[in-house]
Amino acid sequence: MKNVNANGKESAAALKKLLPAQDILQFTFSDAAGREYICFFADAITDKDLLGEQVFRPLMGYAGEPETKEVAAHVTAPEVRTERALEKLAAEVLAGNPVLLWEGMDDGLIVGTKKVPMRAVMEPPTDVAIKGPREGFVEDVKVNTALVRKRLKTGELKIEFLTVGRRSQTSVALCWLEGTSPNETVGSIRKKLNAIDIDALPDSSYLTRFLSDRPHALIKQVGTTEKPDIFCAKIAEGRVGVLADGSPIALTLPYMLVEDFQSGEDYFVPAPRATFTRFLRLFALLVAIYLPAFYIASQLFKLQLLPVKLLLTIAGSIQDIPLSPSLEMLLVLLVLEILNEASIRMPKYVGMALSVVGALVLGETAVSAGFVSTPAIIIVAFSGIGLYAVPNLIEETSVLRLAMLLVAGSVGTYGIILLSALVLVYLVSTENYGVPLVAPFAPFIRRDLKDALVKFNLVSLKERPASLNSPNRRRQK
């Protein structure tokens, strides 16, 4: 049996076969005409009060015809749909929407009284703003689309819902502005989403690999944000957004590297300040990647890199260290990575204790015991702080920092230059949906430089970035 029929009990038995789980409940009641109704709903994700108020109570006094259209007209719930296919009805029950079956019906009745437990809309911990909106996405895709719709009140905003995951049946919302985002990009993303054949989709990060043009790329190719204001701004520029149910992290495509040097706050502060902050982020990132490597290379191969007084200080502090400079740096860096990983995963209060252990026991004691030198600790700490200036690139930069360190310890400064050249070639060769990763610097697009590292005043940003190939170039007059 694939569809429901007029025999309510038989249909209910067939539906029950599809939903054997214990948390799927069945409630039977009769209307004024003595007709029996069977309601299927998932415990804990259905609003039972609303169900009783808007469905059971009106129907108990109903004595009319059994046609679905008539019955539906007597239900006071605002979201009511009909469906014949048993599998689809089962999917609705699992999604939290109760299904009503009765004698003499032609279709099953779906009532939208889903009530999924979720946290409130709050400021995302990974993207705190001093100035600007503080709302963040939550785990419910409907709430997230509402947050987007709230900011883009235009019919041009298209939100298309797709289902991904054979078992998880996760709702994925594809958002774009009609006439602003290139149709080819939208079509290409839709095609990739439809082609995904995976068991379950626990988080939007799973989608990033499927949506990348080069799934094995060493650098990320999909932009991420937890803030609706940033998400909407990116859509308004001509990008396409993807929201996945169960994830507060929204994806934006195509991605350009320069995005991660911009922050939402840059648009709420004066342009010179924003420019300064962006350069500061770039400088911090370069320091994070290169400082440990150059320190090692200068110690091992090229002492002239350091001023004489600093050289003498370092020479004094490293003279009794039993480890080689590169091994020492590698060790300290490894400890930092472990501390970082542990402090993120640990409960908040244990994390504080861990910080004390990390800073005092490992830092102070290791130096006084002569295992590592003070300059090594300072450099790794400085590098570690620098890494967090561009939080969205931490995964890539920490690996690159380690690679630079290994090359510096084996080949020296020339190795650092060669690896940098290699990384540069790799970055400029990478494209996603026809948009170069390093645009607007390579290829050089002068018009787009107005909102790259140097931030021009908002009134100067009259056109959308040319790199995104938007069919609607002008954004303000």
């Binding site: 002239q304 080949v411 020296g412 400064t413 020339y414 050249a421 070639v425 400029v428 060769s429």
Partner: protein, 363 residues
């Protein structure tokens, strides 16, 4: 994907000069003393003219191989391409030896192993397999890097330079001038580097002029560098190998702040790394074009060419100065034969064909 006119201009103005800063200044100082600017000026003018010719060839939108195949048949065109690729590999040797010496001198206080330079060939092999668009984008990045690096070096050096050391003019005489012009041919073959790119860039009206002017602009930067170099070192300029890495260290602030000039030196060295790969990249492009552009072929060629050059470099490892002298002083005639001869000959053939076709249409 084709290169843009802007990317070519960036290469000519700010990447091409980077290949002439290592040993050429001291070679020039040895041959012409304080007159070192004049032979270089002539070289720049000649090359700018040749760059104009090569860019003009790009107007048809066809590659050199395709045009040659039309004229002389595919077999002969393939043979000519192999010959030209062999020239590019030969021409790659001077910048490679220079780069190796520079690496050993600039990046190591202690004497490194002679294979310390070997990782360069891994990078070069990787770069040669990348599409041309990647090379163009790299030039977009390298142009500002070179300008900042060079400007930094010049600004830090200019305080120690005595430009009076460049006078009196004409002391080297005609023979010194002639010899230095001939012996620096090994550093001026930029027009030949553009030949494999013909037909692979968007030709826009006036590109040939713009390209030549950009080359002249790059040439002016080189002349400014040479003038400052001689101004700083004067009579001892002959002994100053890798001068660009040393001339800024006499700046007074260096004592207090350490060698901050290394930031600019590394920036220029970074650009140089890419320039050195250009002839090998050109050789891979030329052969790939002639024998069908496939990924495996490009990969085999790039690994093969870089492997051969690495082997040659190891063979000649202990006699770098003799190697450079042999190429620049005895085999210098090979460079203009290809760098000037090939573009001029192609332009002449195109012009003759163009005139013949116009006459045929008129009749």
């Amino acid at each position: 994907m084709k290169l843009s006119a802007r990317q070519l201009c960036f290469f000519l103005a700010a990447v091409a000069p980077a290949g002439k800063l290592v040993l050429m200044p001291s070679q020039l100082a040895a041959l012409t003393g304080n007159d070192l600017l004049f032979p270089v000026l002539l070289q720049i003018l000649v090359q700018a003219g040749l760059v104009f010719c090569v860019l003009l060839l790009g107007r048809s939108g066809r590659t050199v191989y395709a045009s040659l195949a039309d004229m002389v048949g595919t077999f002969a065109a393939k043979a000519l391409c192999i010959l030209f690729a062999a020239f590019l590999l030969f021409a790659a040797f001077v910048p490679l030896v220079e780069q190796k010496l520079l690496v050993q001198s600039l990046f190591y206080d202690t004497l490194p192993s002679y294979v310390a330079f070997a990782p360069f060939f891994l990078f070069s092999a990787y770069l040669c397999t990348r599409p041309l668009a990647a090379m163009g984008r790299v030039w977009d990045i390298l142009a500002p890097v070179f300008l900042v690096g060079m400007l930094g070096i010049l600004l830090l050096s200019v305080w120690s330079a005595d430009y009076g050391a460049l006078a009196p003019v004409g002391a080297a005489g005609a023979s010194g001038f002639g010899r230095s012009f001939a012996y620096t041919q090994g550093w001026f073959f930029d027009a030949a580097l553009l030949l494999p790119l013909v037909g692979k860039f968007h030709y826009r009206k006036g590109l040939a002029w713009k390209g030549a002017l950009c080359y002249l602009l790059g040439g002016m930067i080189l002349l400014a560098f040479l003038a400052t170099y001689y101004g700083v070192f004067a009579d001892i300029a002959v002994t100053q190998l890798f001068a660009f890495a040393h001339m800024s260290k006499y700046f007074s602030g260096i004592t207090a702040m350490g060698r901050i000039d290394y930031l600019f030196i590394f920036a220029v060295a970074f650009v140089m790394t890419f320039y050195v790969t250009m002839p090998v990249h050109g050789a891979v492009e030329t052969i790939s074009e002639a024998f069908g552009r496939t990924k495996p072929l490009s990969a085999i060629l790039s690994v093969g060419f870089n492997g051969v050059l690495l082997a040659l470099l190891l063979i000649f490892n202990f006699s770098p100065s003799e190697t450079i002298a042999a190429i620049t002083e005895r085999a210098f005639w090979i460079f203009p034969s290809f760098a000037a001869g090939v573009p001029l000959l192609l332009l002449l053939i195109f012009a003759v064909r163009h005139v013949t076709e116009r006459r045929r249409h008129a009749n």
